[in-house]
Subunit: 248 residues, 2 copies
Protein backbone atom coordinates (compact mmCIF):
# COMPACT_ATOMS: atom_id res chain seq x y z
CA UNK A 1 0.00 0.00 0.00
CA UNK A 2 0.92 3.64 -0.23
CA UNK A 3 -0.27 7.03 0.88
CA UNK A 4 0.39 10.16 -1.16
CA UNK A 5 -1.33 13.53 -0.90
CA UNK A 6 -0.97 16.79 -2.80
CA UNK A 7 -2.36 20.20 -1.87
CA UNK A 8 -3.03 22.96 -4.39
CA UNK A 9 -2.52 26.15 -2.43
CA UNK A 10 -2.75 29.79 -3.39
CA UNK A 11 1.00 30.14 -3.68
CA UNK A 12 2.33 26.59 -3.58
CA UNK A 13 1.86 23.00 -4.58
CA UNK A 14 2.80 20.63 -1.77
CA UNK A 15 3.44 16.94 -2.39
CA UNK A 16 3.96 14.29 0.29
CA UNK A 17 4.43 10.54 -0.18
CA UNK A 18 5.35 7.57 1.99
CA UNK A 19 8.04 5.08 0.93
CA UNK A 20 6.80 1.64 1.92
CA UNK A 21 5.99 -1.08 -0.57
CA UNK A 22 4.95 -4.58 0.28
CA UNK A 23 4.15 -7.81 -1.46
CA UNK A 24 2.65 -9.56 1.52
CA UNK A 25 3.45 -8.53 5.08
CA UNK A 26 6.74 -10.45 5.01
CA UNK A 27 8.12 -8.70 1.95
CA UNK A 28 8.48 -5.03 2.77
CA UNK A 29 10.81 -2.63 1.01
CA UNK A 30 11.47 1.05 0.79
CA UNK A 31 10.98 2.74 -2.59
CA UNK A 32 10.72 6.34 -3.61
CA UNK A 33 7.24 7.22 -4.93
CA UNK A 34 7.87 10.87 -5.80
CA UNK A 35 9.65 11.95 -8.99
CA UNK A 36 10.38 15.39 -10.38
CA UNK A 37 11.37 16.52 -13.87
CA UNK A 38 12.33 20.11 -14.49
CA UNK A 39 13.87 22.56 -16.90
CA UNK A 40 14.74 25.45 -14.59
CA UNK A 41 13.03 28.66 -15.64
CA UNK A 42 10.64 26.79 -17.94
CA UNK A 43 8.83 23.94 -16.19
CA UNK A 44 8.60 21.71 -13.11
CA UNK A 45 6.59 18.47 -13.06
CA UNK A 46 6.22 16.26 -9.98
CA UNK A 47 4.68 12.78 -10.11
CA UNK A 48 3.58 10.56 -7.20
CA UNK A 49 2.64 6.92 -7.65
CA UNK A 50 0.43 4.36 -5.92
CA UNK A 51 -0.29 0.81 -6.99
CA UNK A 52 1.71 -2.01 -8.51
CA UNK A 53 5.41 -1.20 -8.13
CA UNK A 54 6.46 -2.87 -11.38
CA UNK A 55 3.89 -0.76 -13.22
CA UNK A 56 4.82 2.54 -11.59
CA UNK A 57 8.56 1.92 -12.02
CA UNK A 58 8.02 1.10 -15.68
CA UNK A 59 5.94 4.27 -16.17
CA UNK A 60 8.57 6.44 -14.50
CA UNK A 61 11.41 4.78 -16.40
CA UNK A 62 9.64 5.22 -19.75
CA UNK A 63 8.90 8.88 -19.02
CA UNK A 64 12.46 9.37 -17.88
CA UNK A 65 14.15 7.65 -20.83
CA UNK A 66 12.04 9.55 -23.28
CA UNK A 67 12.85 12.88 -21.64
CA UNK A 68 16.55 12.06 -21.89
CA UNK A 69 16.42 10.90 -25.52
CA UNK A 70 13.65 13.05 -26.98
CA UNK A 71 14.65 12.34 -30.56
CA UNK A 72 13.53 8.73 -30.16
CA UNK A 73 9.95 9.52 -29.39
CA UNK A 74 8.11 12.85 -29.21
CA UNK A 75 6.77 14.53 -27.26
CA UNK A 76 8.35 14.09 -23.83
CA UNK A 77 7.43 15.49 -20.42
CA UNK A 78 9.98 18.24 -21.00
CA UNK A 79 8.47 19.15 -24.36
CA UNK A 80 4.68 18.97 -24.07
CA UNK A 81 3.20 22.48 -24.33
CA UNK A 82 0.75 22.23 -21.40
CA UNK A 83 0.28 20.26 -18.19
CA UNK A 84 -2.91 18.87 -19.67
CA UNK A 85 -0.77 17.31 -22.40
CA UNK A 86 1.66 16.10 -19.74
CA UNK A 87 -1.23 14.39 -17.92
CA UNK A 88 -2.28 12.78 -21.21
CA UNK A 89 1.25 11.58 -21.92
CA UNK A 90 1.58 10.06 -18.45
CA UNK A 91 -1.89 8.52 -18.64
CA UNK A 92 -1.14 6.98 -22.04
CA UNK A 93 2.15 5.59 -20.74
CA UNK A 94 0.37 4.11 -17.73
CA UNK A 95 -2.30 2.54 -19.91
CA UNK A 96 0.34 1.07 -22.20
CA UNK A 97 2.26 -0.52 -19.30
CA UNK A 98 -0.87 -1.93 -17.64
CA UNK A 99 -2.13 -3.41 -20.89
CA UNK A 100 1.23 -4.95 -21.75
CA UNK A 101 0.41 -7.47 -19.02
CA UNK A 102 -3.30 -7.73 -19.69
CA UNK A 103 -2.85 -10.91 -21.72
CA UNK A 104 -2.79 -12.63 -18.37
CA UNK A 105 -6.49 -11.87 -18.04
CA UNK A 106 -8.66 -9.50 -16.10
CA UNK A 107 -7.24 -10.45 -12.70
CA UNK A 108 -3.75 -9.59 -13.87
CA UNK A 109 -4.96 -6.27 -15.23
CA UNK A 110 -6.46 -5.45 -11.84
CA UNK A 111 -3.25 -6.48 -10.08
CA UNK A 112 -1.08 -4.31 -12.33
CA UNK A 113 -3.09 -1.14 -11.81
CA UNK A 114 -1.69 2.13 -10.52
CA UNK A 115 -3.00 5.60 -9.71
CA UNK A 116 -0.91 8.76 -10.05
CA UNK A 117 -0.88 12.38 -8.92
CA UNK A 118 0.91 14.86 -11.18
CA UNK A 119 1.35 18.57 -10.63
CA UNK A 120 3.60 21.43 -11.55
CA UNK A 121 3.85 24.48 -13.73
CA UNK A 122 4.95 25.48 -17.22
CA UNK A 123 6.17 29.05 -17.93
CA UNK A 124 3.32 31.42 -18.78
CA UNK A 125 0.67 29.08 -17.34
CA UNK A 126 -0.90 28.52 -13.93
CA UNK A 127 0.27 25.77 -11.55
CA UNK A 128 -1.97 22.72 -12.03
CA UNK A 129 -2.62 19.44 -10.23
CA UNK A 130 -4.01 16.22 -11.75
CA UNK A 131 -5.17 12.81 -10.54
CA UNK A 132 -4.56 10.08 -13.15
CA UNK A 133 -6.67 6.92 -12.94
CA UNK A 134 -5.51 3.41 -13.85
CA UNK A 135 -7.89 3.47 -16.81
CA UNK A 136 -5.81 6.28 -18.30
CA UNK A 137 -8.25 9.14 -17.78
CA UNK A 138 -7.66 11.98 -15.34
CA UNK A 139 -9.20 14.88 -13.43
CA UNK A 140 -7.83 18.25 -12.36
CA UNK A 141 -7.95 19.86 -8.92
CA UNK A 142 -10.26 22.87 -8.67
CA UNK A 143 -11.19 25.51 -6.12
CA UNK A 144 -13.88 23.13 -4.78
CA UNK A 145 -11.49 20.17 -4.52
CA UNK A 146 -8.03 21.65 -4.08
CA UNK A 147 -6.30 18.43 -3.00
CA UNK A 148 -5.83 14.84 -4.14
CA UNK A 149 -4.93 11.65 -2.32
CA UNK A 150 -3.96 8.22 -3.66
CA UNK A 151 -3.39 4.82 -2.05
CA UNK A 152 -4.69 4.38 1.49
CA UNK A 153 -6.66 7.62 1.45
CA UNK A 154 -9.44 7.17 3.96
CA UNK A 155 -7.81 7.37 7.39
CA UNK A 156 -6.16 10.69 6.62
CA UNK A 157 -9.03 12.26 4.69
CA UNK A 158 -11.36 13.65 7.41
CA UNK A 159 -8.73 16.03 8.82
CA UNK A 160 -7.89 17.40 5.35
CA UNK A 161 -11.59 17.80 4.53
CA UNK A 162 -12.13 19.69 7.77
CA UNK A 163 -9.02 21.82 8.00
CA UNK A 164 -7.41 22.45 4.62
CA UNK A 165 -7.44 26.02 3.40
CA UNK A 166 -5.47 26.99 0.25
CA UNK A 167 -4.47 30.24 1.96
CA UNK A 168 -2.54 28.42 4.71
CA UNK A 169 1.17 28.98 5.14
CA UNK A 170 3.55 26.23 4.02
CA UNK A 171 4.35 25.41 7.66
CA UNK A 172 0.64 25.04 8.47
CA UNK A 173 0.00 22.90 5.41
CA UNK A 174 2.93 20.63 6.25
CA UNK A 175 1.59 20.30 9.79
CA UNK A 176 -1.80 19.31 8.37
CA UNK A 177 -0.20 16.73 6.08
CA UNK A 178 1.86 15.35 8.98
CA UNK A 179 -1.36 14.81 10.96
CA UNK A 180 -3.05 13.18 7.98
CA UNK A 181 -0.05 10.89 7.40
CA UNK A 182 0.24 10.12 11.11
CA UNK A 183 -3.38 8.87 11.24
CA UNK A 184 -2.69 6.67 8.21
CA UNK A 185 0.63 5.34 9.51
CA UNK A 186 -1.02 4.32 12.76
CA UNK A 187 -3.90 2.52 11.06
CA UNK A 188 -2.19 0.76 8.16
CA UNK A 189 1.11 -1.06 8.60
CA UNK A 190 1.71 -1.05 4.85
CA UNK A 191 2.15 2.73 4.86
CA UNK A 192 5.53 3.63 6.34
CA UNK A 193 8.13 6.27 7.07
CA UNK A 194 10.19 8.02 5.84
CA UNK A 195 8.07 10.56 3.96
CA UNK A 196 9.20 12.47 0.87
CA UNK A 197 8.16 16.09 0.46
CA UNK A 198 8.30 18.63 -2.33
CA UNK A 199 7.13 22.20 -1.72
CA UNK A 200 6.83 23.91 -5.10
CA UNK A 201 6.54 27.71 -4.95
CA UNK A 202 4.16 29.06 -7.59
CA UNK A 203 5.89 30.87 -10.45
CA UNK A 204 9.36 29.80 -9.26
CA UNK A 205 9.67 27.45 -12.25
CA UNK A 206 12.36 25.48 -10.44
CA UNK A 207 12.09 22.62 -7.94
CA UNK A 208 11.32 23.94 -4.47
CA UNK A 209 12.29 22.54 -1.08
CA UNK A 210 12.65 18.77 -1.40
CA UNK A 211 13.34 16.78 1.73
CA UNK A 212 12.73 13.50 3.51
CA UNK A 213 11.04 13.23 6.92
CA UNK A 214 12.74 10.34 8.74
CA UNK A 215 11.16 8.18 11.43
CA UNK A 216 12.85 10.11 14.26
CA UNK A 217 12.30 13.58 12.80
CA UNK A 218 11.76 15.90 15.79
CA UNK A 219 9.15 18.10 14.06
CA UNK A 220 7.11 15.10 12.91
CA UNK A 221 7.38 13.42 16.32
CA UNK A 222 6.24 16.57 18.09
CA UNK A 223 3.19 16.79 15.83
CA UNK A 224 2.42 13.07 16.11
CA UNK A 225 2.68 13.03 19.88
CA UNK A 226 0.93 16.37 20.32
CA UNK A 227 -1.96 15.26 18.10
CA UNK A 228 -3.09 12.46 20.43
CA UNK A 229 -3.34 14.83 23.37
CA UNK A 230 -4.86 17.60 21.24
CA UNK A 231 -7.56 15.26 19.88
CA UNK A 232 -8.32 14.06 23.39
CA UNK A 233 -8.82 17.58 24.67
CA UNK A 234 -10.75 18.59 21.52
CA UNK A 235 -13.09 15.69 22.25
CA UNK A 236 -13.36 16.62 25.91
CA UNK A 237 -14.27 20.18 24.97
CA UNK A 238 -17.37 18.98 23.11
CA UNK A 239 -20.72 18.55 24.85
CA UNK A 240 -21.31 14.96 25.95
CA UNK A 241 -24.09 13.06 24.23
CA UNK A 242 -27.05 12.71 26.56
CA UNK A 243 -29.06 9.64 25.54
CA UNK A 244 -32.76 10.51 25.65
CA UNK A 245 -34.05 7.69 27.82
CA UNK A 246 -30.98 6.43 29.59
CA UNK A 247 -32.38 7.33 32.98
CA UNK A 248 -35.92 6.27 32.28
CA UNK B 1 -22.52 0.94 2.29
CA UNK B 2 -22.93 0.96 6.02
CA UNK B 3 -21.14 1.99 9.15
CA UNK B 4 -21.61 0.16 12.45
CA UNK B 5 -19.41 0.29 15.54
CA UNK B 6 -19.58 -1.44 18.90
CA UNK B 7 -17.60 -0.62 22.03
CA UNK B 8 -16.91 -3.11 24.82
CA UNK B 9 -16.68 -1.00 27.92
CA UNK B 10 -16.07 -1.87 31.55
CA UNK B 11 -19.74 -1.61 32.44
CA UNK B 12 -21.53 -1.41 29.09
CA UNK B 13 -21.72 -2.59 25.52
CA UNK B 14 -22.59 0.25 23.16
CA UNK B 15 -23.82 -0.39 19.63
CA UNK B 16 -24.34 2.27 16.95
CA UNK B 17 -25.39 1.74 13.31
CA UNK B 18 -26.42 3.92 10.41
CA UNK B 19 -29.56 3.17 8.37
CA UNK B 20 -28.72 3.87 4.74
CA UNK B 21 -28.64 1.19 2.08
CA UNK B 22 -28.00 1.76 -1.57
CA UNK B 23 -27.93 -0.17 -4.79
CA UNK B 24 -26.30 2.52 -6.89
CA UNK B 25 -26.45 6.19 -5.94
CA UNK B 26 -29.96 6.52 -7.37
CA UNK B 27 -31.47 3.76 -5.30
CA UNK B 28 -31.19 4.74 -1.67
CA UNK B 29 -33.36 3.40 1.12
CA UNK B 30 -33.51 3.39 4.87
CA UNK B 31 -33.25 0.05 6.63
CA UNK B 32 -32.63 -0.91 10.21
CA UNK B 33 -29.28 -2.66 10.67
CA UNK B 34 -29.50 -3.33 14.40
CA UNK B 35 -31.52 -6.18 15.89
CA UNK B 36 -31.94 -7.34 19.47
CA UNK B 37 -33.24 -10.62 20.91
CA UNK B 38 -33.76 -10.98 24.62
CA UNK B 39 -35.25 -13.07 27.38
CA UNK B 40 -35.37 -10.57 30.25
CA UNK B 41 -33.39 -11.74 33.25
CA UNK B 42 -31.63 -14.43 31.20
CA UNK B 43 -30.02 -13.06 28.01
CA UNK B 44 -29.69 -10.12 25.63
CA UNK B 45 -28.16 -10.45 22.14
CA UNK B 46 -27.69 -7.51 19.74
CA UNK B 47 -26.69 -7.98 16.09
CA UNK B 48 -25.52 -5.33 13.59
CA UNK B 49 -25.19 -6.03 9.89
CA UNK B 50 -23.15 -4.71 6.97
CA UNK B 51 -23.09 -6.00 3.40
CA UNK B 52 -25.65 -7.31 0.97
CA UNK B 53 -29.11 -6.38 2.27
CA UNK B 54 -30.82 -9.49 0.93
CA UNK B 55 -28.25 -11.61 2.75
CA UNK B 56 -28.48 -9.75 6.06
CA UNK B 57 -32.29 -9.67 5.98
CA UNK B 58 -32.38 -13.40 5.29
CA UNK B 59 -29.96 -14.08 8.16
CA UNK B 60 -31.99 -11.98 10.58
CA UNK B 61 -35.29 -13.51 9.43
CA UNK B 62 -33.96 -17.05 9.79
CA UNK B 63 -32.61 -16.33 13.27
CA UNK B 64 -35.88 -14.66 14.18
CA UNK B 65 -38.18 -17.37 12.87
CA UNK B 66 -36.18 -20.05 14.61
CA UNK B 67 -36.28 -18.21 17.92
CA UNK B 68 -40.06 -17.96 17.62
CA UNK B 69 -40.59 -21.61 16.68
CA UNK B 70 -37.77 -23.36 18.52
CA UNK B 71 -39.35 -26.82 18.17
CA UNK B 72 -38.70 -26.69 14.42
CA UNK B 73 -34.98 -26.43 14.68
CA UNK B 74 -32.69 -26.43 17.70
CA UNK B 75 -30.87 -24.61 19.05
CA UNK B 76 -31.99 -21.01 18.64
CA UNK B 77 -30.42 -17.71 19.69
CA UNK B 78 -32.61 -17.81 22.80
CA UNK B 79 -31.47 -21.33 23.68
CA UNK B 80 -27.73 -21.60 22.96
CA UNK B 81 -25.83 -21.96 26.24
CA UNK B 82 -23.07 -19.41 25.51
CA UNK B 83 -22.44 -16.37 23.33
CA UNK B 84 -19.71 -18.34 21.60
CA UNK B 85 -22.41 -20.78 20.50
CA UNK B 86 -24.60 -17.84 19.48
CA UNK B 87 -21.75 -16.50 17.29
CA UNK B 88 -21.40 -19.96 15.75
CA UNK B 89 -25.13 -20.21 15.07
CA UNK B 90 -25.19 -16.77 13.41
CA UNK B 91 -22.03 -17.50 11.42
CA UNK B 92 -23.46 -20.82 10.19
CA UNK B 93 -26.69 -19.10 9.19
CA UNK B 94 -24.75 -16.41 7.33
CA UNK B 95 -22.65 -19.00 5.53
CA UNK B 96 -25.75 -20.94 4.55
CA UNK B 97 -27.46 -17.85 3.09
CA UNK B 98 -24.37 -16.69 1.17
CA UNK B 99 -23.79 -20.16 -0.28
CA UNK B 100 -27.41 -20.57 -1.32
CA UNK B 101 -26.57 -18.08 -4.07
CA UNK B 102 -23.06 -19.29 -4.77
CA UNK B 103 -24.25 -21.33 -7.76
CA UNK B 104 -24.04 -18.07 -9.62
CA UNK B 105 -20.26 -18.27 -9.35
CA UNK B 106 -17.53 -16.57 -7.41
CA UNK B 107 -18.59 -13.05 -8.33
CA UNK B 108 -22.05 -13.67 -6.98
CA UNK B 109 -20.61 -15.06 -3.77
CA UNK B 110 -18.57 -11.88 -3.34
CA UNK B 111 -21.62 -9.72 -4.03
CA UNK B 112 -23.75 -11.57 -1.48
CA UNK B 113 -21.26 -11.23 1.35
CA UNK B 114 -22.00 -9.66 4.72
CA UNK B 115 -20.12 -8.93 7.93
CA UNK B 116 -21.77 -8.86 11.35
CA UNK B 117 -21.13 -7.61 14.87
CA UNK B 118 -22.85 -9.51 17.68
CA UNK B 119 -22.67 -8.78 21.39
CA UNK B 120 -24.60 -9.30 24.58
CA UNK B 121 -24.71 -11.30 27.76
CA UNK B 122 -26.14 -14.57 29.08
CA UNK B 123 -26.91 -14.98 32.80
CA UNK B 124 -23.91 -16.17 34.82
CA UNK B 125 -21.45 -15.19 32.06
CA UNK B 126 -19.52 -12.06 31.12
CA UNK B 127 -20.73 -9.62 28.42
CA UNK B 128 -19.02 -10.52 25.12
CA UNK B 129 -18.61 -8.94 21.69
CA UNK B 130 -17.91 -10.75 18.38
CA UNK B 131 -17.09 -9.82 14.80
CA UNK B 132 -18.43 -12.40 12.32
CA UNK B 133 -16.79 -12.60 8.90
CA UNK B 134 -18.55 -13.45 5.63
CA UNK B 135 -16.60 -16.72 5.52
CA UNK B 136 -18.45 -17.81 8.67
CA UNK B 137 -15.59 -17.54 11.13
CA UNK B 138 -15.43 -14.96 13.89
CA UNK B 139 -13.25 -13.20 16.46
CA UNK B 140 -13.97 -11.84 19.93
CA UNK B 141 -13.16 -8.40 21.33
CA UNK B 142 -10.44 -8.39 23.97
CA UNK B 143 -8.79 -5.91 26.32
CA UNK B 144 -6.30 -5.05 23.54
CA UNK B 145 -9.03 -4.55 20.91
CA UNK B 146 -12.14 -3.57 22.81
CA UNK B 147 -14.14 -2.35 19.80
CA UNK B 148 -15.28 -3.53 16.38
CA UNK B 149 -16.36 -1.69 13.24
CA UNK B 150 -17.97 -3.00 10.05
CA UNK B 151 -18.80 -1.42 6.69
CA UNK B 152 -17.10 1.89 5.89
CA UNK B 153 -14.71 1.66 8.83
CA UNK B 154 -11.70 3.75 7.88
CA UNK B 155 -12.81 7.38 8.11
CA UNK B 156 -14.06 6.95 11.67
CA UNK B 157 -11.28 4.68 12.92
CA UNK B 158 -8.42 7.08 13.85
CA UNK B 159 -10.46 8.91 16.48
CA UNK B 160 -11.57 5.65 18.14
CA UNK B 161 -7.99 4.32 18.07
CA UNK B 162 -6.76 7.51 19.69
CA UNK B 163 -9.48 8.25 22.20
CA UNK B 164 -11.43 5.15 23.24
CA UNK B 165 -11.05 4.05 26.83
CA UNK B 166 -13.29 1.27 28.20
CA UNK B 167 -13.57 3.18 31.48
CA UNK B 168 -15.34 6.13 29.79
CA UNK B 169 -18.84 7.11 30.85
CA UNK B 170 -21.72 6.26 28.52
CA UNK B 171 -22.10 9.94 27.63
CA UNK B 172 -18.41 10.20 26.71
CA UNK B 173 -18.52 7.01 24.66
CA UNK B 174 -21.60 8.21 22.78
CA UNK B 175 -19.83 11.51 22.07
CA UNK B 176 -16.85 9.58 20.70
CA UNK B 177 -19.11 7.45 18.49
CA UNK B 178 -20.93 10.59 17.26
CA UNK B 179 -17.58 12.07 16.18
CA UNK B 180 -16.57 8.82 14.48
CA UNK B 181 -19.91 8.60 12.66
CA UNK B 182 -19.80 12.30 11.75
CA UNK B 183 -16.42 11.86 10.01
CA UNK B 184 -17.82 8.89 8.09
CA UNK B 185 -21.09 10.60 7.15
CA UNK B 186 -19.16 13.56 5.75
CA UNK B 187 -16.83 11.42 3.67
CA UNK B 188 -19.15 8.72 2.32
CA UNK B 189 -22.60 9.57 0.95
CA UNK B 190 -23.68 5.95 1.24
CA UNK B 191 -23.58 6.14 5.04
CA UNK B 192 -26.56 8.13 6.31
CA UNK B 193 -28.65 9.31 9.24
CA UNK B 194 -30.58 8.43 11.31
CA UNK B 195 -28.38 6.35 13.62
CA UNK B 196 -29.64 3.52 15.83
CA UNK B 197 -28.16 3.09 19.29
CA UNK B 198 -28.33 0.41 21.97
CA UNK B 199 -26.60 0.97 25.30
CA UNK B 200 -26.52 -2.36 27.15
CA UNK B 201 -25.69 -2.14 30.86
CA UNK B 202 -23.53 -5.04 32.01
CA UNK B 203 -25.37 -7.57 34.20
CA UNK B 204 -28.75 -5.92 33.54
CA UNK B 205 -29.81 -8.91 31.41
CA UNK B 206 -32.47 -6.79 29.74
CA UNK B 207 -32.25 -4.46 26.75
CA UNK B 208 -30.84 -1.08 27.74
CA UNK B 209 -31.52 2.37 26.32
CA UNK B 210 -32.45 1.97 22.66
CA UNK B 211 -32.99 5.11 20.62
CA UNK B 212 -32.59 6.66 17.21
CA UNK B 213 -30.52 9.79 16.53
CA UNK B 214 -32.35 11.75 13.82
CA UNK B 215 -30.74 14.13 11.33
CA UNK B 216 -31.72 17.22 13.31
CA UNK B 217 -30.88 15.80 16.74
CA UNK B 218 -29.61 18.75 18.82
CA UNK B 219 -26.98 16.74 20.72
CA UNK B 220 -25.56 15.22 17.54
CA UNK B 221 -25.61 18.58 15.73
CA UNK B 222 -23.78 20.27 18.60
CA UNK B 223 -21.07 17.60 18.51
CA UNK B 224 -20.81 17.64 14.73
CA UNK B 225 -20.55 21.41 14.53
CA UNK B 226 -18.29 21.70 17.55
CA UNK B 227 -15.93 19.06 16.17
CA UNK B 228 -14.92 21.11 13.14
CA UNK B 229 -13.92 24.06 15.30
CA UNK B 230 -12.32 21.81 17.93
CA UNK B 231 -10.20 20.02 15.30
CA UNK B 232 -9.16 23.33 13.85
CA UNK B 233 -7.97 24.64 17.20
CA UNK B 234 -6.38 21.28 18.09
CA UNK B 235 -4.40 21.56 14.86
CA UNK B 236 -3.49 25.17 15.55
CA UNK B 237 -2.22 24.22 19.00
CA UNK B 238 0.40 21.92 17.46
CA UNK B 239 3.86 23.13 16.50
CA UNK B 240 4.06 24.03 12.81
CA UNK B 241 6.29 21.88 10.64
CA UNK B 242 9.45 23.72 9.74
CA UNK B 243 10.84 22.33 6.50
CA UNK B 244 14.61 21.92 6.86
CA UNK B 245 15.77 23.78 3.79
CA UNK B 246 12.82 25.94 2.86
CA UNK B 247 14.78 29.11 3.41
CA UNK B 248 18.04 27.87 1.99
Amino acid sequence: MTYCAALKMDKHLIFMSDTRTNAGVDNISKFRKMFTWSTPGERVITLMTAGNLATTQAVVSLLDERSKAPEERDPTLLQVPTLFQAARLIADTLNEVVHAHADEGQDAEAAFRATLIMGGQIAGQEPRLFLIYPEGNFIEASAETPFFQIGETKYGRPIILRAFDPAMTVEQALRLLCVSFDSTLRANLSVGMPLDVHVYDADALKTGAQFRIEENDPSFSAISQGWGAALQSALEGLPEFAPPDLNS
